[in-house]
């Protein structure tokens, strides 16, 4: 009788799989799915190409694994938004968390942007299954706050889009920002600006 037990992965397996994922993040986030090559990933990971295909069935599987891992991280800041908190503060904290994420995980942000730009071919199911319900739930929460007069009334869906876009912009369009902003001036000033902007938009 064949055991269908997943048989726990060895230390080597764990280490190499995570090396590959790390390398793939680097490469996919820079060149997109089609522009990335296994050889590049292999070089970046310090492994041979066939060795990589010993751990993953193929290029696609690496990419999918990456996106799956990313999804959790990506939803986290929104999940943390607390329906019982102080509305304006909850929203502003959310903005801050998103901005911090763009700052701390720019490659992840670009990987995500690349995938969506290309029409989310490998992620659409995930978006429907994970993002959509969470999005709807949190929209309802915020709409509740607005109905109670604790926030200014605006279109909640587009509000969230504007939070996403204005924060991720600092990761995804970094190359442009580097050209336009004198030195690394942005760090604090972006935080400052976004807090001001969303306060003005949302305070009752």
């Amino acid at each position: 009788m064949k055991e269908s037990a997943p048989k726990k992965p060895s230390r080597i397996q764990l280490r190499n799989r995570s090396r590959i994922i790390e390398a793939a993040l680097e490469v996919f986030s820079q060149h997109g799915y089609r522009g990335a090559t296994l050889d590049q990933i292999a070089r970046e990971a310090g492994l041979s190409k066939p060795n990589i295909l010993y751990y993953f069935a193929g290029k696609e599987e690496i990419h999918v694994t990456l996106l799956n891992q990313l999804m959790e991280t990506w939803l986290d800041p929104l999940i943390e938004m607390d329906a019982n908190g102080e509305p304006l503060q909850e929203l502003l904290d959310y903005v801050q968390r998103k901005l911090d994420m763009a700052r701390d995980l720019p490659r992840e942000s670009r990987l995500f942007a690349n995938e969506i730009l290309q029409g989310a071919p490998r992620m659409k199911p995930h978006l429907h299954a994970s993002l959509k319900p969470l999005f709807d739930e949190k929209c309802a929460v915020i709409e509740g706050w607005m109905a109670e007069g604790r926030l200014a009334k605006v279109d909640v869906r587009h509000l969230i889009f504007s939070i996403w876009s204005s924060t991720q912009h600092y990761a995804d369009f970094e190359a442009q920002i580097d050209v336009l902003l004198p030195d690394g001036e942005d760090r604090g000033s972006a935080t400052q600006y976004l807090q001001t902007m969303f306060t003005k938009v949302l305070e009752p």
Copy 2:
């Protein structure tokens, strides 16, 4: 004596070059530079691959030509902003023009996003030469308005970033929006929301 005159291009040349550019826009905007193939572009343009290489020296030249053409279109809405107009209205009109552009030229928007995402390897010189001066000039204009008390005082550079990101989002992240928004609801509601948002941010 060799004439160095550019000898005006024939009708066929004009037609085919524009066909190629159009096809390239379609393909590059969907897959990024490295992910796009000449065969794809050729198929899309209805020409053979060698025939395409009769009109353009190579893949790179097609891409560069595209980006150059795009740059003009891209700067236009900002150029139109009039230093002598009514400040708030000028800004809101600018937001509207950018939103319309994201709506009407999503492929161009994605091509641009792709290039910047990848670190703007083929566009950085252009950004420095064309975008930067215009950006600085218009920043000064807006800062003037703020100094006169005709607009609320906010960080102008980040203000512009937020205009760019929140409008282009509707082109670049369309795949995500399609998942989250019931039907084609966004058309009017995005306009409405953005006008409200930037009014709140900017009215004195």
